[in-house]
Symmetry: C3
Subunit: 151 residues, 3 copies
């Protein structure tokens, strides 16, 4: 059961779309770990911390949004949002969103998504956290935003 | 090594396709966990149980099929099937399938897929389990079927 | 933290694309395990070994490339490459690539991707390992190449 979490974001150009994704992970500070994608909960009592220097090669669960593009000039963005409940015995909800478009728009959408998810649960929101990043593609680019869990 | 498994299915409308997917996970009883997607084996001696109330935020391996649609009126369905071998020292095989169409058709396809997978292994089938669900899209909908592993 | 890794590849025809993928996993020797996809690091001091007979149903982290096709006559290929650094306290980098085309071309691309990833890190390469496989589709086919981690 993870006990800590942090938010991270990055963007990069790359030799291929996967290289750009790798560069975005590096820029986000998590490029030398083994990210395992999960859906999308912050456990109760899990604490927000500043980004942690994770051990190289560690298996790390994360919820993330990522987008790549090979259309020069295109603006791409990725964001994640976390809605935390008033009742601390309940879990938080993570939402991820990426699309063509500017950071502030993508961040607004993903924050709304997290609020809607809490509405669906019938839970009151205590706090809404988010991070997003945009990237203007030169040749081949990637943008990534993540919530990383850790014990 | 997981020791128990259960079948679950759910469907939902949502604010976005990811919100609908989140709603389908909630409807299936696994919406407040961190699902990690895996390919697609029931370990030997792993026991079928009734759905378990999993701890909020736990990392939970699952094999699942999911489909989302934003075409009003469309019928979407998702199913999973498990073929278990006569030899209890061998593992079971999970197959996943989702598509436009009705539940009974998707469930028939995924059951055939599991039988074909056992034929490929040259193993005799003792039992064939499956679950499937359909959803008629109002605005934005999702259907999900899963095999969830647990220890 | 994984301590050993091996390379594996396989290809197969199948009843559906997922059955072909299952067959490719079997051909690669990892078809009766629960593969969990991860991004894409070989931890420092993790040792290359010959393929291991993994316990049936075990949860196994792997980085892999896979491609399926239902176009008869099409040649598909998948490859993975690992660039290992001169400094043994740093991690290796795995890259994955799959596309229509012949094995030698896909393997060349994925090796270049791994070299570019190390260049991005500013790390000198000590060794470059790779595996790739091609498959000529009869009806429905799959090709898969993987780096499997294990403790």
């Amino acid at each position: 059961m993870p006990t800590r979490y942090f938010l991270a974001s990055g963007s990069s150009e790359g030799y291929t779309t996967l290289n750009a994704f790798d560069g975005a992970l590096l820029h986000a500070g998590i490029g030398n770990t083994n990210i395992v994608k999960m859906s999308s909960i912050v456990p109760p009592h899990c604490k927000l911390v500043a980004p942690i220097a994770l051990p190289a090669g560690a298996l790390v669960p994360a919820a993330y949004a990522a987008i790549t593009s090979d259309t020069p000039g295109e603006i791409i963005a990725a964001g994640v949002a976390i809605a935390l409940p008033t009742d601390e015995n309940q879990n938080g909800l993570i939402m991820e969103y990426s699309a063509k478009g500017e950071r502030h728009k993508i961040e607004e959408v993903v924050r709304n998504m997290a609020m809607e998810g809490m509405k669906l649960r019938g839970w009151e929101i205590k706090d809404l956290q988010s991070i997003a990043i945009e990237h203007k593609v030169e040749k081949i680019g990637a943008a990534l935003a993540a919530v990383v869990l850790w014990s």
